[in-house]
Amino acid sequence: MMYKLDITRLDDFLSAISTGRDVFALEESAGQYHLTRADSWQPGRHTLGAFRQVEPLKTLVFRPREFLGEIGRSRPEAVMPERIVIGVKNCDLSALKIHDHVFLNTEPADPLYREAREKTIIISCDCSAAREVCFCPAVGEQPYPKAGFDINISPTEHGYLVEAGSARGRQLLEKAGKFLAAADDALLKERDRNRRELTRKVCAQAEQNGLACGADLRRAVEKSQGGKIWDDFALDCVECGACNLICCTCHCFLLADGESKNKAFARVKQWDACLYKNFAAVAGGANPRRHRAERLYNRFEKKFSFFPEILGIYACDGCGRCVEACTGKIDIRKVLGRAVHEL
């Protein structure tokens, strides 16, 4: 069931569905969006956003640093509040398929991730513009969500098109029924036209930046193993790990032990980065990825060979955050484009 939401009622609608939850929403600042926490949806401060925010969505469900407990003691059962995140774009939403696979669907499940996922309602939104670094159609995605949301909102000139993607989303829409009307065909057509146009635009801009849509990235990356391409790009890599940390799909972490506030031995789980030199090293000194070029290739192998093999999808959703974050100005589009070109 598709609903129409009048442009003037957006704030009322979002306030109604987010009542009683911690709200994570987008705020605009200097042409970018940032994901921030508030007690409620705040008209004027919050926006649905035209494109994805700076911080990857994973920060909410796979947090940069999580306390796991004290060794030999049971962890205090901290209860996570119910949350709603508003304005999620497709790249971030799609990335959760990777995290769900790793942390939920691969036994044993990660209890922290499970709790965060269960407590977080996701209100996604079509992109209405793209950043210069966006390239989602080149990795088989598109600038609007197809699944994985509780509620999706598509802005059009004549109103918002609203649809539920889960039982939870349907319940929320029922609760806010007074703001909604049945959507007509014209609105649906307008949404589809917007979607097609933006997809075309993002596709063209990916191509202008060296990466044509529709290429077999898996074959290109696998074929490039050991090639000069990696030595060349490794010259610019400074192993800062920014690409890993800012990536919407990267899931690697480290278990680190130390002393807690109670002076007990404690363990934390924190983000790790495969570009770091000792990421795969073992105590005896062996390191299967001793050279930077090998580590750079490994990052691409994981995204474009490993995940296609085990899950059937690329672990890259074309958000372009790594392009903006890279200290060495390595552009993933150019890397992939060259791998495709050298096929």
């Binding site: 060794i71 030999g72 690697c252 002393e259 031995f265 790790d272 795969a280 105590a283 005896g284």
Partner: protein
Amino acid sequence: MSCNPYMPVPAILEKVIQETSNIKTFLVRPAKPLVFKAGQFVELTVPGTGEAPFTPSSSPAESEKIELTIMRVGKVTEKLHALKPGAELAVRGPLGQPYPLAKYHGKEILIVGGGVGLAPLRALLFALLEEVDKYKKIIVRYGARTPADIVYRKAVEESWGRKDLDVMITVDKSDADWKGNEGVVTTILGPKKLTCNPGEGVAVVCGPPIMMKFATLEILKLGYAPENIYLSMEKNMSCGIGKCGHCRLGPYYACKDGPVFTYDRVKNLNKIWD
């Protein structure tokens, strides 16, 4: 949070046995019985320092206490080697896949170990000897650097006389008292030192990477099929449950899909011996 798979259960260090100058066997009693199968590993925590993966060397039939034979090579093992009985540890496991013993029934088993790599193979041997009638023959070929570097030396030497085991040991460099073979482990895998039936057998290898590589090449030369050669690919296994990403080996995680892999599954992967 008892259901948290990242957190270990407390354990007490009961006994320490000095095996060689840099290898000790630690007898550990976990607060809860730890039931493992040969080939599976555990993460052993030295509280405050961190945890590291080890494959128990004791019999899988014993779950109250486990033995871990550990070489001093890194941060965790350095601390571990300084501990005295009574020390508090913590342990998480069992993790990974065991040796598929049911597949070995009726077959000849060739076990090839190098250095401290004998530790996991010892657990396998215990498991095999529990039901020794089910196997056609058990052959052990073990190499250590010097006679002083042989782990479980007493047990190993006693086993030389066993009728149900064909055991041979070599050292890279002998001393005046050494009466056995001198040379790397591949020197006791040739036809003069080994009577085996590769067509009907499986080979199980564990040891340092360089030894694994050359032993595997020798075993292939003997005629063992790649799918019958079981290798311990011990990578940087950290979370132990296929999530943290450190031990990825091509399309596998060593911790979840291994750490034991048949050679045919890994032979085309990059850098398997590193």
